[in-house]
Amino acid sequence: MAVVFQKTKGLTDKQTHYCPGCTHGIIHRLVAEVLEELGVLGEAIGVAPVGCSVLAYEYFNCDMQEASHGRAPAVATGIKRVHPDKVVFTYQGDGDLASIGTAEIVHVAHRGEKITTIFVNNAIYGMTGGQMAPTTLIGQRATTAPLGRTVEHSGMPLRVSEMLATINGAAYVERVAVNTPANVRKAKKAIKNAFQCQLDGKGFSIIEVLSTCPTNWGMTPIDALKWLENNMIPYYPIGNLRTPEVEE
């Protein structure tokens, strides 16, 4: 019988610890499939963050390093400078990347470090129990914004990809979502482009993936996907923000 579907070699057999309906799992699979399809699994060195995906080093079937909170881009820089011929990536949440790790993400882009970052934006701190992130939407409730985020108190949510797209060294910047099958397919294409950009030596590449956190959003997985579509995508528009081709 013909094989219709097979789990990617890019993931280990370890069962993930993610909550039911959490889209971290989909994003892991997309990254792993891309690494396998590009034939670079054996050349890949990944960096896991501090956040719900802290155990990513147990799930990706390639060499991995576990970074401290927010510092994955610096760790990846150290790896890439030692092994410029290897494929180096970070996988980071929005607390990790957009809050504590802002300096590291800005400067990895600024140097045009030839690594790829998968930035999982779920508009909240998942692992620590639903505190407000810089990406939390106005009116969205969080355990440290019990009445909902307000502009007066916390400012407007940070659009990291738009900010990074202004930096010359950021060769490929795209925001995607994993709320529908069509968007999942587009997300995979973007992730592949980002790794290809690294393989071509063009510079830093980052894919922001809009993701759900049903647990801390207090929703069913289905409602969470709808909430993402109705609330996150309007503020964080999906699409490409920068490709190497448009460079002069």
Binding site: I45, D63, A67, R71, A74, V75, I79, R81, H83, E104
Partner: protein, 354 residues
């Protein structure tokens, strides 16, 4: 090789490159700037990479990444910058990665000053980061010793898979002295870094650099393993020098450049017929406890001489364990102890002991 006159910070860089250091990540801070400047010029010639990071935090995490990827790697800074690196240092210790960290100490607390000090003793020996970890800490007294110890520092880091710190007060960084780069044979048999993350090549199971152990039993097991390693380091790596211990009425303890001032004071006192011995720790951790077993019965007390308000003095009390009274003399903030100041203190103590 012939002796060449070099500035301390540059000699550190030259010694590191000679010891096989290929990667350097750092951030500017006085009084160690000549070291990264030297590395930016010389490392590429040696086939290595120098990178100025956006902060000390980033620099130490680049060291983590490079070390985890199997490289001989170094960073340097001065006190406030070393304070910032502490999180990265405990992660490196926890993940059992080798590296050398140079701290050219300046006065604190806070922004402090830019003149020589030894006020980071507690930070380097007690661990400024979280958790049960130790650094192997060398504190050379002159440039030749610093140069000689550099190979040892990198080898020990690789052998024990642990971060090693080279501590110099600001004087070691700024002073110019003749140094000779000797050919040395490593004391250690260094195994292949088969744990490094270099890509599996689809030939083996993934390697992982990590300090996270969510299962308490696993974390305790990891800690027990680390402690066994530290016990081995303690047994094998403590280094010290003794001077004029015979018939000493008092034994003074000092490290780094302070020991050079103390030595002058001891020589002057000898001419006056007062016998004072010296123990000079070359490693601050492990603290050279064994040296204190050589102290003669004539000794009536220990004196800690420091460029701080009194930090190593606590280790003297621990090692004395009631055998001798422990006294302290120190200057701080970039003020350097003088032989006259030390002599005054010793005469006061010995006079009082009469």
């Amino acid at each position: 090789m012939a002796k060449i006159l070099m500035k301390g910070n540059e000699a550190i860089g030259a010694a590191a490159i000679k010891a096989g250091c290929k990667y350097f990540f750092g951030y500017p801070i006085t009084p160690q700037n000549e070291l990264p400047e030297y590395m930016s010029r010389e490392l590429p010639k040696a086939g290595g990479v120098f990178l100025q990071a956006e902060s000390e935090v980033a620099a130490i995490n680049m060291v983590y990444g490079a070390s985890g990827a199997g490289a001989r790697v170094m960073t340097s800074s001065s006190s406030p910058g070393i304070a910032l690196k502490q999180e990265g240092i405990t992660y490196i210790a926890g993940a059992e990665l080798p590296c050398v960290i140079v701290n050219i100490v300046r006065g604190g607390p806070g922004l402090g000053g830019i003149q020589p000090a030894q006020s980071d003793y507690n930070q380097v020996t007690r661990g400024g980061g979280n958790g049960d970890y130790k650094l192997l800490v060398y504190a050379p007294a002159n440039l030749q010793e610093m140069v000689d110890l550099m190979q040892e520092a990198f080898d020990a880091a690789d052998y024990y898979r642990t971060p090693v710190m080279m501590v110099g007060d600001g004087m070691i960084g700024q002073i110019m002295e003749p140094v000779e780069f000797k050919e040395s044979v490593s004391r250690f048999e260094l195994p292949e870094k088969d744990w490094a993350t270099v890509g599996t090549g689809n030939k083996r199971k993934p390697n992982i650099a990590n300090s996270l152990f969510l299962d308490p039993a696993e974390l305790e097991k990891h800690n027990v393993k680390l402690q066994e390693k530290y016990a081995t380091i303690k047994a094998n790596e403590a280094r010290y020098e003794t001077y004029n211990l015979e018939n000493a009425q008092l034994v003074a303890v000092a490290y780094g450049t302070t020991s050079r001032i103390l030595r002058n004071a001891i020589n002057e006192l000898k001419e006056k017929g007062i016998e004072v011995g010296m123990i000079r720790p070359i490693t601050l951790w492990p603290f050279p406890e064994e040296a204190f077993d050589q102290i003669p019965a004539s000794c009536k007390g220990l004196l800690s001489v420091e460029m701080s308000m009194g930090q190593m003095v606590d280790d003297l009390k621990i090692v004395s364990n009631g055998r001798w009274p422990v006294y302290f003399y120190g200057r701080s903030g970039g003020m350097i102890p003088t032989p006259a100041g030390i002599i005054g203190k010793i005469e006061e103590l010995i006079g009082g002991a009469k």
